[in-house]
């Protein structure tokens, strides 16, 4: 590789800007959105940059239509994205289910703010973690990513677009008010070095083409509107050609495909960070902005001679069951700090409950540290819990 290709550019960037620039670097060429704090900067940056790049930006009349427009564009061949926050994410739920059902690649960014309802628009929260999994009705698959820095916001925006394209689904990228608005020094890579997944076009004759093959290999060739393949798309249960069906056998094939695209590709989808876990007796399991306090708390505890480590999911959904079992099953206590009433810790209890015996459960502990008043959990608060369980 030529020397100048690996060169990075050092800049101060805001988290939301990093998401927008990452997505653009990944080739997003269609953005539809509706203003909402604290995600609006993403739309604003797209509105500045996309017309200059010959890409499409539109501000729609609401979040419902924004979600619909990105799926329409995706079916016409676009790499599409929208960005929103709590109330808008709720409005997009039905459309996200549709995107997952018709297997149209797209990315939905949710910069989490305090809820429920209008809640705390200018304060952070992590209370949409379960919504990212179950927000839409029906057994819909979910790929959900959550960075913890501005640099990672850039990187995971790229990854979200790539995963959406590869697995033909609607990927959720979570952020939060603090992460979205904070600025950090980051290294912007040379665009040529960024790995981008582009949609593969079918080469077979249209009459052979199946928009929903039974056992797809990902990424699979995918036709777009206007290219001679004239396929049908419906939110109804559908067969391999996309036509509605009521048959149990055909419906089962469809549901299996939706399930297996996640289940069979877990290793490719899941990313975790393990921090000082090798000799740790106590583990902290934290994601997003809270993991920054957790890391600081680990260092503070280590200075006092307490063996603590941190495990962090960058992929929230699918939940990293295997990594949790591997890293956490022998820990004395697992502390789960989060800006909600225990969404990650409940998911954690499901995993550990399955492997800890009844006897073990008496001696081991999953401790939630929860806050949902709009403030961050700070390192001292986590350190206090560490000291209590030591």
């Amino acid at each position: 590789m030529a020397k100048n290709e690996t060169k990075t550019k050092s800049v101060l960037m805001q988290g939301n800007e990093a998401i927008a620039r990452g997505a653009l670097a990944a080739g997003v060429n269609f953005f539809a959105g509706y203003p909402i704090t604290p995600s609006t900067e993403i739309a604003e940056i797209c509105s500045v940059e996309m017309p200059k790049m010959g890409r499409k930006f539109i501000q729609m009349e609401d979040e419902i239509s924004s979600m619909a427009a990105i799926v329409g564009a995706s079916l016409a061949g676009a790499k599409s994205m929208t960005a929103t926050s709590g109330p808008g994410f709720s409005l997009m739920a039905e459309g996200m289910g549709y995107a997952k059902m018709v297997e149209a690649p797209c990315v939905v960014v949710n910069v989490m703010r305090g809820g429920p309802s209008t809640g705390l628009p200018t304060k952070p929260s992590q209370a949409d973690i379960m919504q990212a999994r179950w927000g839409t009705h029906g057994d819909a698959p979910s790929i959900t990513l959550y960075p913890n820095s501005v640099m990672e916001s850039y990187e995971l925006a790229i990854r979200a677009v790539n995963l959406a394209e590869k697995y033909r689904t609607c990927v959720t990228l979570l952020s939060d008010e603090v992460l979205g608005h904070m600025r950090e020094r980051i290294e912007i890579p040379n665009l040529k070095t960024i790995k981008v997944v582009d949609r593969v076009k079918p080469t077979i004759p249209p009459e052979w083409y199946k928009h929903y093959p039974e056992n797809p290999k990902y990424p699979m060739p995918l036709a777009s509107f206007g290219e001679g393949y004239r396929f049908h798309v419906t939110g109804l249960a559908h067969d391999a050609k996309g036509f509605p069906t009521n048959k149990a056998s055909e419906t089962a094939v469809m549901m299996e495909r939706l399930r297996n695209k996640i289940r069979h590709n877990i290793d490719d989808i899941i990313q975790i960070e393990s921090f000082m876990m090798e000799d740790a007796k106590i583990a902290i399991f934290a994601a997003g902005i809270t993991s920054r306090a957790a890391k600081e708390a680990v260092l503070m505890a280590r200075k006092k001679g307490i063996r603590v480590g941190m495990l962090r999911p960058l992929t929230i959904w699918p939940f990293p069951d295997e990594a949790i079992k591997k890293y956490l099953c022998d820990k004395k206590a697992i502390i789960v700090p989060e800006l909600n009433e225990g969404q990650l810790s409940k998911a954690m209890k499901r995993v550990m409950g399955a492997i800890w015996s009844y006897e073990l459960r008496k001696s081991k502990n999953i401790i939630g540290l929860n806050k949902n008043n709009g403030e961050l959990i700070n390192p001292e608060e986590i350190l206090k819990v560490i000291k209590e369980v030591k």
Partner: protein, 188 residues
């Protein structure tokens, strides 16, 4: 060459419209030019003018994770409310900088305290209160040395629209000069 590790937590506080978030961003940009690690966060209410506003900047030549300032090394307070609220979290060895044309009750504390009527100086010498943020930022940087003066000048120059550049560069110089006088007097 081994340089000593440092980490400075700085809070710029006041009310919305005083340009504190802008000042925080400029300070962070200067740190980027200095090639050191920096995070800048802010807290604000729904209003763009009025209401409490703060910007936190953490600057370090080492890795750090938690992005909000907890125990400040430096606190700039441009309103009484901000001063009352945040002075308690200033480290004993920290530095408090206040605008005494607005903050009338100076807290009694161990920390080093610098008082100047920044807003009044800006109005009188620059004909506008707008560059108070840059004036006090220049003062802060000269007193604390958290970033290099040169980088700060570059960051101010890069961050301002052409029509405001002159006024803000003047404000910056004014702030630095104020600090030089204080340093000289303290040293004497």
């Amino acid at each position: 060459m081994k340089t000593k590790k440092f980490k400075k937590e700085i809070r710029l506080s006041g009310s919305g419209g005083q340009g504190l978030i802008t000042a925080g961003i400029i300070l962070a940009r200067a740190a980027v030019i200095d090639k050191i690690n920096v995070t800048q966060t802010q807290s604000y209410g729904p209003e763009s003018r009025g209401g409490a506003s703060r910007a936190d900047v953490i600057i370090s030549n080492d890795e750090f994770y938690y992005p909000e300032a907890v125990n400040f090394d430096v606190l700039l307070a441009l309103t009484q409310e901000a001063c009352d609220k945040f002075a308690v979290d200033l480290k004993d060895e920290g530095i408090l900088i206040i605008d005494n044309s607005i903050v009338k009750n100076t807290p009694k504390m161990e920390s080093e305290i610098y008082e100047h009527p920044f807003t009044e100086i800006a109005r009188k010498k620059l004909g506008s209160e707008l560059p108070t943020n840059i004036l006090s930022l220049g003062f802060l940087v000269k007193i604390t040395g958290v970033v290099s003066e040169h980088s700060l000048k570059t960051a101010v120059g890069n961050s301002m629209k052409p029509q405001f550049k002159d006024m803000n560069m003047k404000a910056l110089k004014l702030g630095i000069k104020l600090a030089e006088v204080d340093i000289k007097n303290n040293g004497a």
